[in-house]
């Protein structure tokens, strides 16, 4: 029963988080790119844009409410949470559809009302960026590393007193599967923690090198906002990683019988808490981005960032053969995407598709 309730709560939280992220998304994206459409500085508070934004939020709320209600209803009626993943998937698809609808309307208004007419379009870039200090970057690793060290210390302390056979799988509070005690088995949670730490390190490395795009009319301020945003994402991921490491620590403690096996059922709670914290930390940034802008002075210089809508297919897929970037910030949404026009990405996609197909053929042959 507890298991069932936790799973229903988890899926409902994920649906609510998706809804919340999409609801605040227009405020999280750069002011000059709304719903994946590049707009001039004096159109940021245009009535058409405000109305499109309002309609987007109404659709997001309605769709998410419907998905949440359906998830709860189906879970109660069927007594199973098997359909939760389906509702989460449906919500993601619905959010895309709502985004594409808003983008279509905004593009239509932009073209028919000739928003970019009379603007000089420029491409700005920082030629001598400040590199983040190594000490500052190391600080982001302190929390997850502390959990890993604590887990490893517990494993070493408990090892001599553990039974010859250790539980590796639980059903409720009862162990259902055992394995012979080995150093490798006891240290499994620590290895998993280290793998996640490695993934985080790669992410931080990539995030520090993703391109920053200064925005008109205030190039310097836009850079400061983006820098803060980047460090917020890195910090939020550090919090999430710490929570995931705590999950592994709890699982390890259950295996080493420091805590009862029932705690493995609760071991995903830190990850869910981490996810909530990530959304909270990242969404704080919207206040700095959403500062009201004096549109008269913004449009006075008649300079805007180059209209690059044509490089974004369906507002989501970046395809620019001339741009050597592999990774670029998403046009709409948190995070980053790849440049499909880059030959390396094309090769990578080909290799992934070919190996997946070969793997599928091999499976079918068996």
């Amino acid at each position: 029963m507890i298991q069932y309730l936790i799973r229903v709560a988890d899926s409902s939280i994920i649906i609510l988080l998706l809804a919340y992220i999409n609801f605040i998304m227009p405020s999280l994206t750069p002011r000059s790119v709304q719903f994946g459409v590049r707009i001039p500085p004096d159109r940021i508070v245009d009535p058409s844009l405000i109305s499109i934004r309002k309609r987007f939020r109404i659709y997001v709320t309605a769709t998410s409410g419907a998905m949440l209600a359906s998830n709860l209803m189906v879970s109660i009626v069927s007594g199973s949470t098997g359909f939760s993943a389906l509702f989460i998937l449906l919500e993601i698809i619905a959010m895309w559809a709502v985004y594409l609808d808003a983008r279509k309307h905004l593009r239509h208004v932009k073209i028919t009302e000739r928003w970019t007419h009379g603007y000089t379009q420029k491409i700005p870039a920082v030629i001598n960026p400040e590199r983040p200090a190594a000490v500052r970057m190391l600080l982001y690793f302190v929390m997850p590393l502390a959990v890993i060290i604590a887990t490893a210390a517990l494993a070493v302390r408990e090892y001599p007193y553990l039974h010859q056979f250790l539980p590796v799988k639980f059903s409720g509070s009862d162990p259902v599967e055992f394995a012979h005690k080995t150093v490798q088995l006891v240290l499994t949670p620590v290895y998993s923690q280290l793998i996640f730490l490695g993934i985080y390190a790669v992410l931080v490395f990539v995030l520090c090198r993703v391109k920053v795009v200064p925005e008109y009319p205030d190039l310097d301020r836009s850079l400061t906002v983006q820098r803060h945003y980047r460090f917020s994402v890195i910090f939020a991921l550090s919090v999430l990683l710490t929570m995931v490491e705590l999950d592994f620590m709890l699982s390890g403690m259950a295996q080493w019988e420091i805590i009862p096996g029932i705690f493995t059922e609760f071991s995903v709670i830190p990850s869910v808490v981490g996810l909530v914290l990530v959304v909270a930390i990242v969404s704080r940034m919207r206040y700095s981005i959403a500062i009201p802008l004096n549109t008269e002075s913004a449009g006075a210089k008649r300079i805007m960032n180059r209209d690059d809508d044509a490089f974004w297919k369906a507002g989501m897929i970046y395809y620019n053969r001339d741009d050597p970037s592999l990774i670029v910030p998403k046009r709409f949404g948190i995070g980053y995407t790849v440049n499909y026009g880059n030959p390396f990405i094309k090769i990578a996609i080909f290799i992934i598709m070919a190996s997946t197909t070969l793997f599928a053929i091999r499976l079918m042959a068996w």
């Binding site: 420029k122 870039a125 920082v126 030629i127 001598n128 960026p129 001339d322 741009d323």
Partner: protein, 125 residues
Amino acid sequence: MTFIIEIDDSLETPLYAQIKLSVISGIKTGKLKPGDVLLSSRELAKALGINYHTVNKAYDLLVQEGFLIRDKKKRTFVNEWASGEDSRFLKRWEDLEKNLIEEAKARGITNLRILNIVREALGSS
């Protein structure tokens, strides 16, 4: 202090020339200081979303003209002598100027007109 260069791909001036002029302008205004490390050609091409060879051409010219230097690790710096007087640069600049004046005279532009153009350019910089 960071320095932002701006290019406009709708202008007739080639992109490499715009990049070159932007860097020179940064040095002139003191926003780019001697010893400042610049993005590599590839990184700047990524930042601008343009072809790598375009940026490389601009950098090569700036290195040739003594505004930038490249070290063994292929890092690009603003030259210590970029903002000072350089006899090599002065000679090259004088040659260029003479050629431009000859070209203008061949096309019938008067000395007074040439002087006015130079005065205007000096006044606007």
